[in-house]
């Protein structure tokens, strides 16, 4: 069995509108596939379709080398487990919530207790077993929801935004624990998220879903470093995306003309090729005007600060270099450079930080 799950030519309509269209997607046994995309991209619809809770208008889903229809609806749903974005716990104790899927499967009582105790402890909620679900914090409820799905020991685990709406420390703790549990158990998992950090941490592969279409699928470093198109690039954080044309290409060094400025990137592309020049804001370094010391950064530009905006613990700086450029720097750097709108600075970035996407 090469694939545990295989999706072919899938089309899902909701209220007459096409909301999901996927040509081909596979999940290998033991693999964690992270499906990423913005809100409304069709991620949850994909998960519900894979859980057989939405009937596709077209296409085939194969599970363990057989079409879903060959498994029988209930048998398939009992081979998998789904945890939706909200914990949706029942108005019962934590223990009763965790065992509900095992009760649905009519497992023997002693097996139910054994498994429940194991997973309550693995998720660090053993001490909460008798507590009413209504009296749990958001993080605890999320752990119960995960325990309720994992205790089933499904052949395929489907998780919808498992860390959504959690405060950062709670999220970080749960992310660590889930990463360890998935690695330890080899649990085949499809999880959807709009958070790139979660996808990088948990996913063996990443599938990018935009406007209901699967735009790219590959190892996280491939997708994040080499987005397939401008929209994927924008979603994976390459916020500076400029149109340009290749002027020359020698020894893996590509010179691109962007609005009359000659910029350098690493790669091999034919001369005259139209490209999208993509750059992450965190890869841009700022210096005082004419103050950039000698370095390996191949691109140095005179720039004027257009605006400064707080971005969590960082500061996002919008620059005008003859074309718009974004930089992300620490607050300490912004203070030391005494940055202010209208100020002239130098901006630099390495040729290897640039991702070029061939364009029409």
């Amino acid at each position: 069995m090469n694939h545990l799950l295989e999706v072919r030519d899938l089309l899902v309509r909701r209220a007459g509108r096409v909301v999901l269209e996927i040509e081909h997607l596979t999940v290998a046994p033991g693999e964690v596939l992270a499906v990423i995309g913005p809100n409304g991209a069709g991620k949850s619809t994909l998960l519900l379709t894979l859980a057989r809770l939405i009937e596709p208008a077209r296409g085939e889903i194969r599970f363990e080398d057989r079409p879903l229809a060959a498994h029988g609806e209930l048998a398939y749903r009992r081979a998998i487990a789904l945890a939706l974005q909200e914990p949706l716990l029942l108005d019962r104790s934590v223990f009763e919530n965790v065992i509900i899927g095992l009760r649905f499967r009519h497992l023997p009582g002693d097996e139910i207790v054994r498994r429940a105790e194991t997973w309550l402890n693995r998720l660090g909620i053993g001490h909460l077993r008798a507590r009413p679900a209504a009296r749990l914090s958001g993080g605890e409820a999320r752990r119960v929801s995960l325990a309720r799905a994992l205790v089933i020991q499904p052949r395929l685990l489907l998780l919808d935004e498992p860390f959504a709406a959690l405060d950062p420390p709670t999220r970080a703790g749960l992310l660590d624990d889930l990463q360890a549990l998935l690695a330890e158990t080899g649990q085949t998992t499809v999880f959807v998220t709009h958070d790139l950090d979660e996808a990088l941490r948990l996913g063996d592969r990443v599938a990018v879903l935009l406007a209901g279409r699967l735009r790219q699928c590959g190892r996280p470093e491939q997708v994040f470093a080499g987005p397939a198109d401008a929209e994927v690039a924008a979603f994976v954080g390459m916020e500076t995306i400029l149109s340009g044309r290749v002027l020359s290409c020698t020894e893996g060094r590509v010179i691109v003309d962007v609005d009359g400025r000659h910029l350098e990137a690493a790669g091999e592309l034919p001369i005259g090729q139209a490209v999208l020049f993509c750059l992450r804001p965190e890869d841009v370094t700022l210096w005082p005007k004419d103050g950039a010391p000698a370095s390996s950064a191949r691109n140095r530009l005179a720039a004027r600060i257009v605006s400064l905006a707080p971005h969590g613990a960082l500061v996002r700086v919008a620059l005008d270099c003859g074309f718009p450029l974004l930089a992300l720097i620490t607050r300490a750097s912004a203070r030391e450079l005494d940055l202010a709108p209208g100020m002239e600075v130098s901006a630099s970035f390495k040729a290897t930080a640039v991702h070029l996407i061939p364009h029409r």
Binding site: I80, A83, L88, R92, I100, F104, R148, L158
Partner: protein, 225 residues
């Protein structure tokens, strides 16, 4: 006052017979309403079929059915020359049970549908995603809405134990056969026996209170879980 005390201290065996019959008739009507209303309310709450909203509006209208109108319709059906006259049910406790079931069933159905619709609709998907069969999902939803469903049961019982129009029309208020507390109160009031009417009224209230006290106790025990 003496009459009232005599009534409560067991001076009149007819009173206890009337009380027992009231409890039996209204209890049975509520039970049948529950057996009809719980599945019907569930289908209306969870189903997805054409005309669902129309059926829900009919049920909601039925929750306010005037008992005398129900009595009239059941009387026409059960009358000797009526379509169900051959069954010989007119002026029997069974006729009162039928009428009271028609009164209570929409109440139980409508409140069941409302109770299930008040649950998060994603809960159904979550239960199915954890491997529940359709029946297991419905049972889990009933358990989740248990407090509201018990309230539906109480409302159903309350609507029939206190009604008089239908019981009078299809039961006939026959002494020893179809006389229930409400019809007996009407009779005693008509005779000017106000003390006896008041005593029967107090008994009706006490009976209603005892039944609802038990149901409330079960409901609140569930709420503390």
């Amino acid at each position: 006052m003496q009459n009232i005390l005599e009534l409560f201290t067991g001076g009149d065996p007819e009173v206890w017979q009337i009380t027992l019959l009231s409890l039996q008739v209204s209890g049975l009507a509520t039970l049948i309403s529950l057996l009809l209303g719980l599945p019907l309310g569930t289908v209306l709450a969870l189903g997805n079929f054409p005309g669902r909203s129309f059926f829900l509006s009919l049920i909601n209208t039925g929750m306010a059915l005037p008992p005398v109108v129900v009595g009239l319709v059941v009387a026409i059906l059960l009358w000797r020359s009526g379509p169900l006259g051959g069954l010989g049910l007119m002026y029997t406790p069974a006729a009162i049970v039928i009428a009271q079931t028609i009164i209570a069933a929409p109440v139980v159905t409508g409140l069941t549908a409302a109770a299930l619709q008040a649950l998060d609709p994603r809960l159904r998907l979550q239960l199915l995603g954890l491997g529940a069969s359709r029946l297991q999902m419905v049972l889990a939803l009933w358990l989740e809405a248990r407090l509201a469903l018990l309230a539906a049961l109480m409302a159903g019982f309350g609507s029939v134990i206190s009604e008089v129009g239908a019981s009078l029309m299809v039961g006939g208020n026959i002494r020893g056969q179809t006389r229930v507390l409400t019809t007996a109160i009407v009779l005693e009031t008509g005779k000017g026996e106000f003390a006896r009417a008041i005593a029967l009224g107090a008994l009706l209230l006490a009976l209603s209170y005892m039944v609802n006290l038990n149901l409330t106790w079960i409901q609140q025990r569930g709420a503390r879980r």
